[in-house]
């Protein structure tokens, strides 16, 4: 059974803290993604990675960075968390073919106080 796991389901942090969200996939997928999901706004792409050490900005990269040192692992970093980054964060992975399914992790609900 395919699996995308995220390091935390719920996270509470304080403004200004550095936050790491980790995602691991076991499907040997080249592509990995980080989205945030907010009510009424749907899923918005933050960053994606198409190979180890490769990344591309999505629609809303400001305030975020990413790291992909190993194929199976893709980390999202909030350098200095702010209250407007309170959200649900979803990680996904996908193969290289356009018709490939995108598989999602269960999400991390981050609250920044």
């Amino acid at each position: 059974d395919v699996k995308v796991t995220q390091s935390s389901r719920y996270l509470v942090k304080r403004t200004g803290e550095k936050v790491f969200l980790e995602c691991v996939q076991d499907m040997d997928h080249e592509n990995m993604f980080w989205y945030r999901q907010d009510p009424g706004l749907g899923l918005r792409l933050i960053y994606f990675s198409y190979d180890v050490k490769m990344k591309e900005k999505g629609d809303i990269p400001e305030g975020y960075s990413v790291s992909r040192e190993k194929k199976e692992r893709f980390s999202l970093i909030l350098e200095s968390a702010s209250t407007n980054q309170t959200s649900m964060y979803l990680c996904a992975s996908k193969g290289v073919m356009i018709a490939d399914t995108q598989y999602f992790g269960p999400g991390t609900r981050l609250t920044v106080l």
Partner: protein, 111 residues
């Protein structure tokens, strides 16, 4: 650019009633189209996808969708809704290496 629109933000149906969730796409060529479901507090799960061939696609959990080129639509249907179908539903289309999602339709099921 390729995109999808879900016109209905929220739909309420009674348990046992039929369901149709709308999705319209914007795409020059024959699109690849996906429907995902998100149960409360969970990630997204693929229901079904269309990329060629038969325009009526069967998915998991008793769902189906029909691709209609003339209407630029890919509506999701289920003949009889169960209480466990209450969730948010997303239509999506691939875009470069990414997937572009509609804003989602939240389904409430009345007993």
């Amino acid at each position: 650019a390729q995109s999808v629109t879900q016109p209905d933000i929220h739909i309420t149906v009674s348990e046992g009633a039929s369901l149709e969730l709308r999705c319209n796409y914007s795409y020059g060529a024959t699109p690849y189209l996906f429907w995902y479901v998100q149960s409360p507090g969970q990630g997204l799960q693929l229901l079904l996808k269309y990329f060629s061939g038969d325009t009526l696609v069967q998915g998991i959990k008793g769902f189906e969708a029909e691709f209609k080129r003339s209407q630029s639509s890919f509506n999701l249907r289920k003949p009889s809704v169960h209480w466990s179908d209450a969730a948010e539903y997303f239509c999506a289309v691939p875009f470069n290496n990414d997937m572009r999602f509609g804003a989602g339709t939240r389904l409430t099921v009345k007993p």
